[in-house]
Symmetry: C2
Subunit: 419 residues, 2 copies
Amino acid sequence: MSDIKTYMQGVGVAARAAARQMAQADTATKNKALLAIADAILSASTHLIAENAKDVAAARSHGLDDASIDRLTLTEKSVRGMAEGLQQIATLPDPIGGITDLSYRPSGIQVGKMRVPLGVIGIIYESRPNVTADAAGLCLKSGNAAILRGGSEAIHSNQAIAACVHAGLQAAGLPANAVQVISTTDRAAVGELITMKDYVDVIVPRGGKGLIERISNEARIPVIKHLHGVCHVYIDSEADLDKAIRIADNAKTHRYGVCNAMETLLVHSDVAAQVLPKLCKIYLDKGVELRGDDTARKLVAQMSAATEEDWYTEYLAPILSIRVVAGLDGAMDHIARYGSQHTESIVTENYTKAMRFLREVDSSSVMVNASTRFADGFEYGLGAEIGISTDKIHARGPVGLEGLTSQKYIVLGNGQIRS
Amino acid sequence: MSDIKTYMQGVGVAARAAARQMAQADTATKNKALLAIADAILSASTHLIAENAKDVAAARSHGLDDASIDRLTLTEKSVRGMAEGLQQIATLPDPIGGITDLSYRPSGIQVGKMRVPLGVIGIIYESRPNVTADAAGLCLKSGNAAILRGGSEAIHSNQAIAACVHAGLQAAGLPANAVQVISTTDRAAVGELITMKDYVDVIVPRGGKGLIERISNEARIPVIKHLHGVCHVYIDSEADLDKAIRIADNAKTHRYGVCNAMETLLVHSDVAAQVLPKLCKIYLDKGVELRGDDTARKLVAQMSAATEEDWYTEYLAPILSIRVVAGLDGAMDHIARYGSQHTESIVTENYTKAMRFLREVDSSSVMVNASTRFADGFEYGLGAEIGISTDKIHARGPVGLEGLTSQKYIVLGNGQIRS
């Protein structure tokens, strides 16, 4: 334990020193490093897959479930995907150094803001080796130093990827310590990482709700976190019902295991009889289990009764809860009470109701006439995504490069003093 | 203790409910409330001063120091100042609901951001009754609910001001619970406030370093904090020496007890002999005690030797430490090592050095040819200031209304689904 502490403090000191260099790195140098890392990963493909095979074999012998083993496994295609992700980050605009809102004040000074890196970013994630390359690339491009702590099942894969990252950084003349991948699987390392106030500026946990809640409770450093997504679609009485059915279908069935999938459908009582039988047939044909309130169940026979707990539940599965509401206020009350402030969408042609929903619903993404599945950094044009934040402080919704930065004030004067 | 917990939970529940109403309040209603509070304060002037006199008498009998009693005392002028501050907040633009960056994506959806309140803001401050009115006004205008916990010495004053705030809120049809002023002086209330994750979204502590460090260590809620200001002015070899002397004089002597006052002067060795004797005469004439390194002391006889600790010290007093450095890199190394990332200024006519200083110095305000005393919400045009943040997350530098808000994503579609 005291060895881990010493090791992590060393990592922290090295990260802080590297962060100062990274903050000053110019765009061309950072892009050169990103492309060099991509090249190193492509060249090492066979080695990466061999190292990954050790992790996969160990995971199988420990009885890890199939879905987790699937996420752990590297293939030639997924290795190529990692490299392409880094090449894509190289094409994104560099946020660092950008100056905005520079204007003259009555005193004669010009005041504006300059975008700067946060400093050292600690990322804690589960056994998905591709996150190692992805997170390294995003931190690098945004001028930060990164401390990466992946799941212990991926230790060989992550160390092999780390070697590629270090080679690429050094090829561009940047410090290898700009990206450090924790080499111990001891869980005490996480405890140190999330409490090293002097060396780490922000923690980004990526993984299941349990991991994120634990980190969030124990961290002594700001956390950018995504807790869960109980997303709603509300079909209003003035909805275009074709759009409504298309959107409600897509929001639930496009992918089930994702945070921006709809988990509860709210339908205005005036149109429930028109919409629900048709829509529920689509769901049932696709094998979606339906749980509804009494009114909904009267319209669709193959629907079980939803419990109070259902309304709070993120299924991440082909299960949908359905409630018939009296109107917009009923829908918004339901969302305020049971929602997770992730993503909600209204389907309506009524201008005033659309505007009220946009303004009054307190979620990281609020939509009109669009599928909740659009809540995504790529769909929003961020170019890349380190995660989705359900917090309100600092970053909210999909977090791209800009979420890994801050702004400082700059003042340009000509000898001005305060009088 | 369990009574305090129950009391504070009740405050939290009420604040959360009020926050939902405040988020939806329109600009005219919020401004009406601000002006009504100002009127109530002006009408209650005699009563406020009488209640304040109880606090001042008790503080004197407990032996509170003169400076603290000065900050505690309300006069007709300071009561008028509170009202004027609220009237001024009413004139500021409403940040809430503002939509920016709305643009079309290839999928056909429009994506943008809408500015929204943070929710419930907890403000903890020392015995300065004017902060009660000021903080209430800023939270109100930014659509948040506020829980205010002022210093126990100001309890009568704060409760009297709270009555005016409630009267004004109700006159405008807004919930009185939008601003709650804690009515107990029990310190356990602070412990509850900074850990009520479900009811409070952000904590803003205002006061001395000890208070802020303690709150920051114990809080389970994000904290927007200002720790300390060890501000530097660097006079470069290519400085206009008239500007240099004017700025270095103003940065130190305009006011001593403020966070944006210069505490350490750095001078390039090429111009030290030209600048320091003249500048130090000004300081000595104004009664500023000088502490310098060996080189500086050879140029100015009345300078004692600075210790290592001096370079870290925020004097908040007529004391200045002075170091002669070899150049820009030496100055920036000193700032990185000893500074508090608050405000630093370079005096130079050299373009490249000015740009490097702006980019490379990692402080909340970085200036060229201007006095550090400009680091202030009013001087920057924010219109009002809840404090200055020395953090990087969420808000950095002077924090105005915008620092009490967040942005959510909005998506405007026409039936789009994800393919």
